[in-house]
């Protein structure tokens, strides 16, 4: 029998971190404001108190420093979990992540492993000022050597953060900031599935709707409304952005013949674009229509008074569903 507990996503991440730290004393947590304050979203709340300054500490405000030293600590046998405070502040660390962290195993011909986890709250919808609402996942997915995941619910949050910490390779965890307070049951005993698997969330037979992170909730809303309007939508939670679980997607697309991919990020050169290309390449004779992408516009993230119009919602997804059904 498994025991369950209701938690919000932020709390589930916190519990997952706590568990990982209890299980392995080499796990360290650091970043800006993660100690006494518990992070600006309280994801690391209580960890400083429980594990002390040696394992949970505030770093100077220097993202390149945070990731660069995480690399050195990993070389020394630690398993660092670094927090980047907001999506828009990861870029000072770009060199350390893409040119260093991602490539050290390759460069050392496997002599070195880089079990570094970088947590990044991402996405919009919280009425924030500039640089606090971005979806930069594509930059990282484009870089070989990085594993990238994005949990959409508390159970996945609890387990995927632990799986990420156990990974011998660097993992970037994109956390759906605007869903941090969304609650759900967490199974404290059994992991749901491997970190890189996609999950079929809702069965349908006319259109496959693929989403990840904060858009999963929106996709489920769209499927619900779609059902009322007589369209049967199958919803898949991607969970892992690199690598992508194509077998699960292909199986669904071969059943429905149609795919809509929804994400907050600008669609140009996005995760959605790559999935659209791969699905077309491998499922040409199964498709009834071209793959459609619903996403943010190809502009900088707008001021918050305009974010409602910028971010895809259930209606925008259903507009694409209507179009794809019209083929």
């Amino acid at each position: 029998m498994s025991s369950y507990k209701d938690m919000a996503i932020a709390k589930a991440l916190n519990a997952g971190l706590q568990k990982a730290m209890q299980d392995d004393e080499k796990v360290l947590v650091f970043g800006e404001d993660v100690a006494e304050l518990g992070g600006v979203f309280r994801v690391t709340e209580g960890l400083h108190k429980e594990f002390g300054e040696k394992r949970v500490f505030n770093s100077p405000i220097a993202e390149s420093g945070i990731v660069g030293t995480a690399i050195g600590l990993a070389m020394r046998g630690y398993r660092p979990v670094a927090e980047i405070q907001f999506d828009g502040f990861v870029f000072p660390a770009f060199n350390q992540i893409t040119s260093q962290l991602a490539k050290l195993t390759y460069r050392s011909e496997g002599f070195m492993q880089m079990p570094v986890v970088i947590r990044i709250p991402y996405g919009g919808g919280i009425g924030a000022v500039e640089h606090h609402s971005e979806s930069p996942e594509a930059y990282f997915a484009h870089t070989a050597g990085l594993r990238i995941i994005s949990p959409s619910n508390p159970n996945d949050a609890y387990w995927m953060i632990q799986q990420a910490i156990q990974s011998p390779d660097p993992v970037i965890v994109f956390e759906p900031k605007r869903r941090y307070w969304q609650k759900g049951p967490v199974n404290l005993d059994v992991a749901p599935m491997p970190m890189h698997s996609a999950r079929l969330l809702r069965e349908g037979n006319q259109v496959t709707l693929l989403a990840y992170g904060p858009m999963v909730t929106t996709a489920l809303q769209a499927a619900e409304i779609g059902a009322e309007e007589g369209v049967s939508i199958e919803v898949i939670d991607l969970r892992s952005l690199a690598p992508v679980d194509y077998p699960t997607i292909f199986a669904s697309v071969q059943k429905t013949g149609r795919l809509v991919v929804a994400a907050e990020a600008p669609t140009n050169v996005s995760i959605s674009s790559e999935i659209a290309a791969r699905v077309a390449e491998h499922n040409f004779y199964h498709l009834e229509a071209p793959v459609l992408r619903v996403g943010g516009f190809d502009t900088p993230y707008p001021p918050s008074k305009l974010e409602e119009a910028y971010l895809p919602d259930a209606d925008r997804i259903l507009e694409a569903v209507d179009r794809i059904m019209a083929y």
Binding site: E32, D33, A35, E36, L37, G38, V40, N58, S59, P60, I61, A62, E63, S64, G65, G88, F89, F91, P92, G127, A128, V129, E130, H131, H132, N268, F297, D298, T299, P300, P302, P303, S304, K305, L306, E307, A309, Y310, D315, R316, E319
Partner: protein
Amino acid sequence: MMQFLAPDGTFGVPKEYAQYGELVDALTIEDLTKFYRDMARIRRFDIEAIALQRQGQLGLWVPAIGQEGAQIGSGYGVGPNDHIFPSYREHGVAITHGVELMSILKMMRGVNHGGWNPEETRFHLYAIVLGSQVLHAVGYAMGVKFDGLVGTGDKDKDLAVISYFGDGATAEGDVSESLLFAAINDSPIVFFVQNNQWAISAPVEKQTKVPLYRRGEGFGVSGMRVDGNDVLACYAATKFHMDQARAGHGPYLIEALTYRVGAHTTSDDPTKYRSEEEVEYWKARDPIIRFEKFLRRQGVADDFFEEVKHAGDELAAQIRAETFALPTPPLENIFHNVYSDEHPDIERQKAWLQAYEQQMGGHE
């Protein structure tokens, strides 16, 4: 640390700071009352902005309460041609250079990302990515020097640059690189660090092992520490070193020791990481109260302070009304100015959104 005004409002210039003291001596009573007026004005503005945020009228507010001495003092130390590269808390500096307070409120309401013309105000856009603006300031200063506008002796022509940043931001690599670039190029720039003791929940000890005024030394940038809650010391330090930079003496760093009395932003809860006693200690060193005591000693009478208070209430009412009246920006603003001229993807998406909104029955 250079201090002219003690917390009790008594004034004195220590011998070693005599050349700075002369700049204060040159101030008229009109200058002094202007300093006070602006400090009180920005404090009142801040309080009103916090209230507006609480009422859902602003997405966020970033209070500068407690830092008015550092900001108004240094702001008035900047010359009429000089350029200012702020961080995101410099509302006080902004008003010394004619930036409309509503521009700042608009940004915090989420109407735009800045939107003022920096060439007009010489006060550049707020920078939220810590330290990023400091390199821009140095580059600008390099350009000023390339243009031959340093040390000509023509005070209508020469200019210098000042960049503001916090104690926390000093940890960013961009700030170290800024110091180096400025030193190597002998750029006309003053680095003004407001050390308000905290970077969100991290005390200044987490960002530096040596006093911040010495941070530039290894790069070749000298520095000094001033009492950031002493508006006159901040004025004199800034004016002196901006004059020096303009005259071709290269970069300099000023650390203003002050305190962030309020929360980091309206999203922050400072009781989680600092003590009430510490806040009380600093409140007793309030820059405005201190300056009021000084002015009263100078013979400035009650009716002046009454009038300033009254003006503050009027300002508060005015910004409140103007904030409520701010229109929601049109949707096409999402697409404007991504590029300087037409771009096929942007035009297509703009048209798509317009058609979509029409089909959905219009926005709101």
